[in-house]
């Protein structure tokens, strides 16, 4: 068995992301059906990949019950019509679920356990609100293992403003406006649509429809508009619905393969995995997680931040992105970062988002053969960060 081999990102797709809630796109659509749609689209888009050559289906979900339960990777593989010989499993690292699905199968590929895998994630936050069914151990608080605010993500974002007073609400709002503008431009330029899979939706009241684009973006968002929003996590606070990602429904997936197998099958590899790292931080400031995880991934890759030409960072909260940029000395509006906008515009269906970052990075790589390295990174609840460094194969 080979001890290590190159791992490549072949292709990624996602459903359009919907707003959670009774009026949202997917209000009456099952989470597992979203995953099925993604898997089938990956197989359809990559006809050189014989379905029986898929060695694993790793699907992340934060809340693994109901239509996100039943070992969703395996359930979705069966529902998608993959051969029964293809195994699958469920995976969870909250917001970094899909990212962890990719790194985990990548580890297996590098080790030689798999040749090709499908990795992705889903979160239907309408059917599964954050924190559904959780039962935190009382010791967290009795022994002061974590601050009481640690489990409320908005509060951790407020805490991050406390830690970095230089990151003001105004800066956060300005960043949010930029994210919306970039997303609108990306849509106008047709950068997003090619990797969306049109997804059937149905409500009893309206009948069948088709989701063809993201529901969450608010093009035309202005500083004035954002300034009046409530700060639900703290009176006179800094974190608003406008400078945060929303509550969303969606699924993502990608094909990851050993480089040599991708070449053998004629799969077009878009990126090579260079290194990855996860890191823990204080849960009450979970938003700083990407800083140590990126430091570690760079160190493992033998690279510095100056080697990185493109960054896809998940925008759970503007403050957390700004803390990252400040740490690495990158300007708030640096064009290398989130060129297509981010989760503040598109939304953040928790465990699915990691692969959205990769898909967007891959498309940017395709347009920028001059860029050699890029990173995808995100913060994770309970105080973590995750980072994957990719090499451009375009």
């Amino acid at each position: 068995m080979p001890s290590s081999r190159d791992v490549v990102f072949v292709d990624g797709v996602r459903t359009p992301f919907g707003r959670s809630g009774p009026k949202g796109l997917y209000a009456e659509t099952r989470a597992d059906d979203l995953v099925v749609r993604v898997i089938r689209e990956l197989i359809r888009r990559n006809p050189q990949l014989p379905p029986e050559r898929v060695d694993e289906v790793a699907i992340a979900a934060t809340t693994q019950i109901g239509d996100q339960g039943l070992t969703i990777g395996r359930a979705a593989a069966v529902l998608a019509g993959l051969p029964k010989s293809v195994p699958g499993y469920a995976i969870d690292r909250m917001c970094a679920g899909a990212m962890t699905a990719v790194t985990t199968v990548a580890g297996g590929i590098a080790f030689g356990a798999y040749d090709v895998a499908i990795a992705g994630g889903v979160e239907h936050m309408g059917r599964h609100p954050m924190g559904e069914g959780v039962d935190p151990n009382p010791r967290f608080l009795s022994e002061k293992l974590v601050d009481p605010s640690a489990l409320v993500m908005g509060m951790t974002a407020e805490n991050l403003h406390d830690r970095h007073p230089e990151i003001t609400k105004r800066r956060a709002d300005a960043y949010a406006v930029l994210s919306q503008e970039r997303a609108a431009k990306a849509y106008a330029d047709g950068k997003i649509q090619p990797d969306l899979v049109p997804t059937a939706i149905r409500t009893a009241e309206k009948g069948w429809g088709l989701a063809v684009e993201d529901e969450a973006p608010r093009p035309g968002t202005t500083m004035e508009g954002l300034s009046g929003l409530k700060t639900p996590f703290r009176p006179h606070g800094n974190v608003t619905a406008g400078n945060s990602s929303g509550i969303n429904d969606g699924a993502t997936g990608c094909v990851v393969a050993a480089r040599e197998v991708a070449e053998e099958l004629g799969l077009g590899a878009k990126m090579r995995l260079v290194s990855y790292a996860f890191a823990g931080v204080d849960p009450e400031v979970m938003g700083v997680g990407p800083i140590p995880s990126t430091e570690r991934a760079l160190r493992l890759a033998g690279l510095g931040i100056s080697d990185i030409g493109l960054v896809e960072i998940n925008e759970a909260f503007a403050v957390q992105v700004l803390a990252f940029l400040d740490h690495f000395g990158i300007a708030d509006d640096d064009p290398r970062v989130n060129q297509y906008g981010g989760a503040i515009a598109y939304g953040h269906p928790l465990a699915s988002s990691g692969v959205r970052l990769m898909t967007q990075l891959a498309r940017q790589f395709g347009e920028r053969p001059d860029v050699r390295y890029g990173i995808t990174t995100m913060c994770v609840g309970m105080g973590m960060g995750g980072t994957v460094i990719w090499e451009n194969l375009a």
Partner: protein, 699 residues
């Protein structure tokens, strides 16, 4: 007044309790920049157990949706699909039964055409996305569209109208032959409905050309919309190999062949299939307007005819009454059956063992005194399982399981842990009593004992049991695997728990059970014997056998009397006749000629090539008082009416409906007769009527 208003005034009031299938319209952005499609979802607001149907209000709703769509100038296409698992399954039959005048019947036909044809006559292309069951008017909606996709998971595609006494008259007879050719269209419109209402699956429909494209169920709608977008963009040519008028002589031959087959089966007894063939013949040359107008006329005639009313009544019996048997005790009283015993290892016993094993999936033990017979019986089951395996009806694992479930035993000790023991031994009261005495000695206290007797008294059979309450009649029809009826016989002592268990087992076996009083020969055999007895008596009296044999052709029964005798076997027929003669000597005779025929050992009056055997026919010669065919017919019908009346008066079954259900499911008597009592009513033979006017006839 516009047509729509006229139809509304004629029909709306009639359909106050219609479950309305709504036409929900939602704009969909087609992929590949193909523009906007107005996508109509047909949905009656219930889940798949109550499928979409079309009554007047549903048609008005679809019409309204299409009228609004027709006004729009921003659309590239229109689509129609169903709710999950169901596209639409046709006209609202309850509503059809509520129509009372020809004017109303004409209106429902014309309204359907008016609405559906809009789909094919819009300036933009229309697409049907057949996601689930599509029958009758539902399939016709799809046929009116410019293009169709179908899911490979669709379990049922059919135009079943002819089975009820209608024609697919909302465009089906005109559009389908032109789409898939006359021969294939006749198969769907005429032949399948007359063959136990056979339905085809999505894949077969696609292969026949009913749909232009097929997609898998997992993302059927999405891929259908992608396909539609490419059709709209002109990127996908839609080729229909059979979409051209078949040659005139092919068309004539297809219709002619079908007419011959229909005649063989029905001998003119039911008008609908003939009308369907007329319409299909017309479709070769008729314009849309002419063709649809002819359909309207056919619908109006059929909707106001008694054959359809009898058909709707019969349909309701088998769909509803058969599922909730009249007089069955509370299902919660039923005991669990985890092991079944079958006494005997003959053919009937082996067939039962196979059925019990397949449906109940519990161990089944056959017993017989003779090892060779036992081996043969178990061997039969194993061979049948292998046949199922060969046809792919069961997996190798399931085949192993089924074979493992069925075993043989020389002693009845094997019944020690059985919950249900049925006997299929020689039809002799003393033998059966002896069998049950032995069985009762070993089985647990709550074990149900069942007899498959066709004519003996259940009460007498159980009289000497220690627990007579545990015995119940459980009368299958041959062949056991195929015939859907089970007569469940309550003896005088049969207790409720036993009866409830029998009904539960019947349901698990996927049979339709009818509760019958312990009366000689129960229902089906009693009436068939009555029927047969009159025919044979007429022959004995000197009526030429061929005349008597065909005297009842006008009813369109599945078999002529002597063909039935051949199937049953003269000896069995004679035995039942004797049983009934013993019980009712004034009404049931025993023909000496029949006894002679049995003595010859011949299988009946027909030779294997179905020509009459002169020697057998000669057995019946000698009578001197021949009847005409008409006289034979009258005496047979009068005898049936009289016997049914007596059976109802005696409480053999709860109602005439149960008589009809038994004859439909146990004897295959046709829907257009409504079983039999609607026919006896409408021909005036029954006096007074069995059923009130309107129940199975025009009100």
């Amino acid at each position: 007044m516009s047509d729509i208003e006229t139809w509304r005034s004629l029909l709306a009031e009639r359909a106050t309790d219609e479950v309305v299938t709504k036409a929900l319209v939602r704009d969909v952005q087609l992929p590949y920049g193909a523009g906007t499609m107005a996508l109509i979802t047909l949905d009656n607001g219930f889940d798949h157990t109550k499928p979409n149907t079309f009554g007047p209000h549903g048609l008005f709703a679809l019409n309204g949706a299409l009228a609004e769509i027709a006004e729009r100038t921003d659309l590239a296409a229109v689509g129609v699909t169903g709710k999950p698992f169901i596209f639409a399954v046709g006209a609202d039959l309850k509503g059809a039964a509520a129509l009372t005048t020809r004017e109303e019947a004409l209106a429902i036909g014309a309204l359907g055409h008016h609405v559906f044809r809009r789909l094919g006559e819009l300036p933009i292309p229309s697409f049907a996305f057949v996601n689930g069951a599509a029958m009758g008017g539902g399939l016709e909606v799809a046929l009116h569209c410019s293009y169709r996709t179908i899911s490979s998971g669709v379990p049922a595609v059919a135009l079943p109208e002819c089975s009820l006494g209608l024609v697919p008259g909302w465009g089906g007879t005109q559009l389908l032959p032109r789409l898939i050719g006359p021969a294939a269209a006749i198969r769907l419109i005429v032949e399948n409905p007359l063959a136990q209402n056979r339905m085809i699956k999505g894949r077969e429909a696609y292969e026949l050309g009913v749909a232009d494209a097929m997609f898998e169920p997992a993302d059927f709608l999405e891929e259908s919309l992608r396909w539609a977008a490419r059709v709209v963009n002109g990127e996908v040519p839609v080729e229909r190999p059979v979409e051209r008028p078949a040659r005139d002589e092919d068309w004539d031959k297809a219709v002619g062949d079908a007419r011959f087959l229909v005649d063989m089966k029905l001998r003119g007894a039911a008008p609908a299939p003939y009308r369907a063939l007329d319409l299909i013949a017309l479709a070769r040359t008729a314009s849309r307007d002419e063709g649809f107008a002819a359909e309207d006329e056919a619908l109006a005639d059929l909707l106001t005819g008694d054959e359809l009313r009898a058909g709707l009544y019969a349909f309701d019996l088998v769909q509803r009454r058969a599922k909730r048997p009249a007089g069955a005790p509370d299902a919660s009283l039923a005991r669990k059956v985890t092991k079944v015993g079958v006494v005997g290892a003959g053919l009937m016993a082996s067939q039962m063992a196979l059925l019990f094993a397949r449906r109940l999936e519990v161990p089944v033990v056959l017993t017989d005194l003779d090892q060779a017979r036992l081996d043969k019986g178990v061997g039969y089951v194993h061979a049948e399982v292998d046949k199922l395996l060969g046809k792919g009806r069961v997996s190798p694992d399931q085949a192993n399981r089924l074979k493992g479930l069925v075993t043989g035993s020389l002693t009845k000790d094997a019944f020690a842990d059985a919950d249900f023991v049925i006997e299929a031994v020689f039809e002799d009261l003393a033998v059966k009593k002896q069998v049950f005495a032995e069985v009762e000695a070993v089985v647990p206290a709550e074990c149900v004992l069942a007899t498959n007797t066709s004519s003996l008294s259940v009460t007498e059979m159980g009289a000497e049991l220690r627990h007579p309450g545990r015995l119940v009649g459980f009368h299958f029809f041959n062949p056991v695997a195929v015939m859907p009826l089970l007569e469940i016989v309550r003896g005088a002592a049969t207790d409720d728990a036993t009866l409830a268990t029998a009904f539960a087992v019947g349901k698990a076996l996927k049979k339709s059970s009818v509760l019958v009083k312990d009366a000689p020969a129960f229902v089906v055999n009693r009436l068939l014997t009555c029927f047969m007895g009159e025919v044979v008596a007429a022959v004995d009296e000197g009526t030429p056998l061929e005349v008597a044999e065909h005297a009842l052709d006008g009813l369109g029964l599945p078999m002529t009397p002597f063909a039935l005798l051949q199937l049953v076997g003269p000896a069995v027929g004679l035995h039942v006749a004797e049983t009934l003669h013993d019980a009712f000597p004034d009404r049931f005779g025993v023909s000496e000629n029949m006894a002679k025929l049995v003595a010859t050992g011949k299988p009946g009056v027909y030779r294997p090539d179905f020509t009459l055997d002169p020697e057998a026919v000669a057995v019946f010669s000698g009578g001197s008082a021949p009847s005409t065919a008409e006289q034979v017919r009258e005496r047979v019908l009068a005898a049936l009416a009289r016997e049914i009346r007596i059976m109802l008066d005696d409480g053999v079954v709860a109602a005439p409906q149960d008589i009809d259900l038994c004859m439909i499911l146990g004897a295959g008597w046709p829907f257009h007769l409504g079983g039999i009592t609607p026919y006896l009513d409408r021909t005036g033979v029954a006096s007074p009527r069995f059923l009130a006017p309107g129940v199975a006839s025009m009100p």
